[in-house]
Symmetry: C2
Subunit: 446 residues, 2 copies
């Protein structure tokens, strides 16, 4: 691998002879396409036959020129909802009722987490993102410092959001993090966020509302994931749905991002449109936990902006946007009883481009001059990607992380042909996460 | 790769230091396990500490000894329902209503297929199976000679079944194939099969029933895939469901294998139990085509034997048993509204072991002495498979074809670390399938 080893040593890279899916301009694939990266930025994307290409190339020396041999180059996937630090819990407890799972298995273990535990579990998740072509994540978990350390050291672009609730974090901490973690030119950014309606007292929600108005910022939160949650809110709050109730407190006055959004009413949808609220769908998690199927077809028709996420590794259990893309369209079809619902081309656009917009990374939504160099190369010369009848549908319906040849974030190649460039030995990360598991299991037994 | 290049040159291979999932005896994983293959057969599977191990090893010289370094060795997946020859149609037409898809896109193209077209498309599908750890398939398509040529040359174990209907194949051909293709020690076997109730006249079905009774053999067929199909049968046949109607013709007197089995009634289930009928579920295809979710939980409770299949590459569009395993449990949970339904451990057992039984390959259902050497090695030292809280659940919930290190069929390593041993250059197969696409598209335009 010849590449920039870190963000401190920027390099110039030319990709040529690719099939470019730019998500910019028309939706056609550019055959024989060229992408030029200088430092952390895309300097050129096109067919290499225009005058702009010559201008950009003039005087530029390339540290690496990579023949894509007809493979796809495109913006990376945006995993718009995850809890990376839960990787230590993968396959610890599955095939259980939701409340047993949470109360008996998850919460007791999470209560014993140290910052280092979260740091290594997050690094393990980053490795998985890189193998699957994910170049940006929206992460919600405990101890933002540990998450930021892990994602910045491994080079992952990470939008964190708060997870304030009655039991951890607070409006004060949220404000502090929001002010500290939104620096320019950082891989880390931070959004106002709460866990969910059902884990926050009204007093706490009012403090958050004050902060939302002070910062004029959207609120990120789990919303209407289960019927049980919606029903509980109606019982607690004079028949209001969680969307209605939180809106009545002014929490969505500057917009919001809903994670899940499985069970919404017509009235909820009116509020969502009025407040320009976007939704991140997590189909694998919603299926595995028997929560339901989100109304994707309806969201598309109503113009609700969408992103796609994996949810955390304890509830999914894998962090694979190929699987999520397939499920977004396939479960959308099942829900509508219509094989023509939720077109795969829309799903690919959401996974790569619109997802960037909804988590607040518009600079990473396409391969266009001036955008951040967050991109991937997919191998088309593998049996699951042949023949090339429709490359974009091949990616959604048949693609696999086995097809990811290269993942670049912020101009740095972090993964290529199975090798990682993340500043640490994978074996070390595996063994540290195993140590977390062993220690916590022992503590719980005692 | 040091391996048997073909079945004609059998070799002795020792796998050691593995985690063995044998699907034989108790369900525990054997740590530090050993598997010895001589020719096409498993000569030993265990912890290497018993007297049988010494007996087997005595006087045996190994052509290769492979340190598994703690990775999993287990029986390969059985893809129990597929149409391999449809690979040329992948992503040709998706996101369409079922009848438009069939009548406007699929049927006109299939009418133009030659034996060579089917031969190369089948080879392309075999490549995909090998990358995904599939060691046996149950294939239903046109021109059995072409399918057998492709699967035998590439080394895939293939149970073919007839696809008799009003428009192609016949009872006479079915009888001929059944008599010719069930030779001992062949990778190919053949079962009686029809396309479905809705494509066969009663006259034809009676001819098939005669053949079923002559051969005393079970019938393989598409069954109750869509509500439309069930409703149509009731209208055509005095209110009988397809299960009731075909049973009344004696077609299930020697058992049957149902592909899909999505829409069945209590009465159907009684017949299925009485006739010992097994079901192959195809959850990705059933979701993508909006056909529904099969009642897996009910089947498990009623003791109906199960297999898992991908269906063909035109309707899925990928041939990935990892995706199907995840969907079998996750959609089963959604259907029952119960996160504890359809345990992943059951699903893994079905995918590897019970699937072999239902398609008639009991000699390939486990890693035990005397069984056929159809096995795979899965890499656990990849981010999606760590930590090792529960290896079998990791495989079902988080596994990916990217974790398949090695696929062996009949004692021959056909795929290892990304390289194929199938007697032909992958590029040739890709280009031949592309030629099929181009030619047929041109013929249709004219």
């Amino acid at each position: 691998m010849i590449h920039a080893l870190s963000r401190e040593i920027p390099v110039n890279i030319r990709f040529f002879n690719g099939r470019v899916i730019a998500f910019y301009g028309d939706s056609n694939i550019i055959d024989g396409g060229e992408v030029i990266v200088t430092g952390d930025t895309i300097a050129y994307c096109g067919d290499g036959k225009d005058s702009r290409y010559n201008e950009v190339c003039q005087g530029l020396s390339f540290d690496r020129e990579m023949d894509l041999k007809g493979n796809v180059i495109m913006p990376g996937f945006k995993n718009c909802h995850t809890h990376s630090g839960m990787a230590f819990l993968r396959s610890m407890a599955d095939d259980m009722k939701l409340e047993d799972w949470l109360n008996k298995q998850i919460f007791p273990r999470e209560a014993r987490l140290t910052a280092d535990d979260i740091y290594y579990s997050t690094k393990l998740s980053v490795m998985e993102y890189l193998t699957g072509g994910v170049t940006g994540i929206c992460d919600m978990y405990l101890m933002p410092e540990a998450i930021a350390r892990a994602t910045e050291e491994t080079g992952m672009r990470c939008v964190q959001c708060g997870c304030v609730n009655n039991f951890s974090q607070s409006a004060g901490l949220l404000k502090e993090w929001y002010e500290n973690y939104n620096k320019e030119n950082s891989l880390t950014s931070f959004r106002l966020g709460i866990h969910a309606e059902y884990t926050c007292s009204e007093e706490l929600l009012k403090e958050i509302s004050t902060l939302v108005h002070e910062k004029k910022a959207p609120l990120y939160l789990h919303m209407s994931e289960t019927e049980f949650e919606v029903q509980g809110c109606r019982e607690r709050h004079q028949g209001l749905s969680p969307v209605e109730y939180l809106d009545s407190l002014g929490l969505f006055d500057y917009g919001a991002l809903f994670f899940h959004g499985v069970h919404v009413t017509d009235k909820d949808l009116e509020i969502m449109k009025k407040r320009s609220i976007a939704v991140v769908t997590n189909p694998a998690s919603n299926a595995k936990l028997a929560s339901g199927i989100a109304p994707i077809s309806r969201y598309l028709k109503e113009g609700v902006k969408l992103g796609i996420g994996t949810d955390g590794p304890a509830s999914n259990n894998c962090l694979d946007m190929f699987r999520e893309m397939f499920l977004t369209t396939a479960l959308g079809k099942l829900k509508e009883n219509d094989a023509a619902a939720v077109d795969a081309m829309e799903v690919l656009r959401i996974a790569c481009s619109e997802g960037a917009e909804v988590i607040g990374l518009p600079e990473c939504d396409s391969l266009a001059e001036g955008k951040k160099a967050d991109l991937i190369v997919l191998d088309l010369f593998a049996p699951n990607m042949q023949p090339l009848n429709n490359i974009m549908k091949n990616i959604v319906y048949s693609g696999s992380k086995a097809n990811v040849k290269l993942t670049m974030i912020d101009g740095v190649i972090r993964y290529e042909d199975g090798a990682f460039n993340i500043g640490e030995d994978p074996e070390r990360i595996y063994s540290e996460v195993s140590r977390t598991v062993e220690r916590i299991n022992k503590e719980i037994e005692v």
